[in-house]
């Protein structure tokens, strides 16, 4: 692994963000909308249940913030790839000495940068306006973030592999992936509220373990470290599988000629 080659991918994204205010604003705009909307919703629900010890701010707003962090990581990785696809740069990249693993690592590092920027923005807003304290989750905040980070990376790599396999027009498949997953992972409600078959899917998704634990902590119960470890193991496994899938797709399009033609594929 060559650090210069990986940093080339990161610096390209930095130049794009620095040179275009719209790209920079895009990191914040959706998460700000979510934080404001769910912040007021949490306050409203707290007001509807006076005297209750249950606080909707960490349960609902905190969960939305963590979910948005995962989505930003996934979109940050996918967007970095899309920038290369839109500017027909993939031929220049894959004809250079950069290896597939270096390229994917560069995309991951780029998404860490944009994900952290949006996380800091969301935390500042949610803390300043709605009094959210992520420390109310205790030290478990860090494994929560790590599980969601790994899941975002796994989804981002998988989404990028899909675009590499099916061409630039397949990006419409990528954007809805978090929305499709969100009903299963229980961002807003306990998994017990779901029908049995949906719960079966939920247990295969790492974020479910994070949101179940958040609700347990807010309700004054003990968190389940074992379930978090299971969530972490699943997230790490999916990251590995997504990486293998990306390499498999890359080798396939190398054989079929789709990579050489990729820049010409507009439809």
């Amino acid at each position: 692994m060559n650090i210069n080659r990986m940093s080339a991918i990161v610096i390209r994204q930095y130049y794009l963000l620095r040179g275009n205010k719209q790209r920079f604003i895009n990191i914040f705009v959706w998460v700000i909308v979510d934080i404001i909307m769910w912040g007021f919703m949490s306050r409203y629900l707290n007001g509807m249940t006076p005297g209750s010890a249950y606080n909707f701010v960490p349960a609902l707003l905190g969960a939305v913030l963590l979910w948005d962090f995962m989505v930003r990581i996934m979109h940050g990785l996918s967007m970095a790839f899309m920038e290369d696809s839109w500017s027909r740069n993939l031929l220049n990249i894959f004809a250079s000495p950069i290896s597939v693993s270096e390229y994917v690592c560069g995309l991951v590092l780029s998404s860490i940068g944009t994900g952290l920027i949006s996380l800091v923005g969301m935390l500042a807003l949610a803390t300043a306006i709605f009094g959210l304290s992520m420390f109310s989750y205790g030290v478990l905040m860090f494994p929560f973030l790590f599980v969601l980070f790994l899941t975002g990376i796994a989804l981002g790599i998988f989404a990028t592999a899909i675009m590499l396999k099916y061409g630039p027009s397949s990006e419409w498949l990528v954007w809805p992936i978090p929305a499709v997953l969100s009903p299963f992972v229980g961002v807003f409600y306990p998994l017990a509220a779901l029908p049995h078959w949906m719960q079966f899917v939920s247990h295969a998704l790492p974020p479910s373990y994070v949101f179940e634990n958040i609700r347990a902590i807010v309700a004054g119960h003990e968190a389940s470290p074992i379930s978090l470890v299971w969530g972490l193991a699943l997230a790490a496994g999916y990251t590995g599988l997504a990486s293998l899938y990306f390499v498999r797709v890359y080798r396939g399009i190398l054989r079929s000629g789709a990579l050489a033609r990729y820049s010409a594929e507009i439809s």
Binding site: N4, R12, L259, A260
Partner: protein
């Protein structure tokens, strides 16, 4: 040897695009890869660039097999092609910086400054590549292609869409590169006057095979043709009237 290609073949389900070709490009040599549309030129170049897997055969760049040590082989090559322009949403200097890192160029800052001067890009360094004229973009693409002082330079119609004056400047720079560097050049073009002027040797591809090879200034007479363009037309229309290599 800058490039050694042996038994290179690419077959798709129902079609053989490149049919077991072998050739080489020596140091200081400019070799023209010629042929009609669909002859297999771009397929060959794609395989040498490592963006298309061959069905059979070996490709050695500076004696390194791209199949066994792709990164090392690719770090010794570079390319410029009309269909692979640099991202238009970054400036000239930013593009050179990003690709300089990608090719792990030592003393990158100085190398970029040298190329900006050499390719007359001083006034354009902060301009986004997408806003440049085709001639300016070609100069930037060539500057990028020279970043790593390649042992093998691949040029796919580098002077297409350029005015005659700019095209001449570009040809002179590439000739200069071949003469002074340790590299060789594989050049494709449909401009036979240009090929005759620049190339030391040409390979004519037809239906995925090398049909003819030789000095572009003497090859037409050897096949009773007035000039290279006439020979090209014969290759395109009546390849069977010419001997297969």
């Amino acid at each position: 040897m800058a490039l050694t290609v042996t038994g290179l073949r690419k077959t798709y389900a129902s079609k053989t695009a490149v049919d077991g070709i072998s050739f080489h490009v020596g140091t200081h040599e400019i070799v023209g890869l010629l042929g009609p549309n669909g002859a297999g030129k771009t397929t060959t170049i794609s395989m040498i660039l490592g963006v298309l897997a061959p069905s059979a055969g070996t490709i050695l760049i500076d004696n390194i097999d791209i199949n066994t040590d792709r990164s090392a082989a690719m770090s010794r090559t570079n390319f410029a092609a009309v269909y692979a322009t640099l991202p238009g949403n970054m400036t000239v200097a930013q593009n050179l910086h990003v690709f300089g890192l990608m090719y792990d160029v030592p003393d990158l800052k100085k190398r970029i400054e040298d190329l900006i001067v050499e390719y007359d890009l001083i006034a354009l360094r902060t301009q986004k590549c997408g806003s440049l004229s085709s001639g300016e973009q070609t100069r930037v693409n060539l500057a990028k292609a020279m970043l790593n002082k390649p042992r093998l330079l691949l040029l796919d119609e580098p002077t297409a869409s350029l005015d005659p004056s700019t095209a001449r400047d570009i040809r002179n720079k590439i000739r200069d590169f071949a003469a002074k560097s340790k590299g060789g050049v594989l050049w494709t073009s449909h401009n036979m006057h240009e090929v005759e002027e620049v190339c030391d040797r040409v390979l004519f591809l037809s239906h995925g095979k090398i049909l003819l090879e030789g000095n572009p200034r003497t090859l037409p007479a050897e096949h009773n043709k007035a000039n290279l363009e006439e020979l090209f037309i014969t290759v395109a229309r009546e390849p069977l009237t010419l001997g297969e290599k």
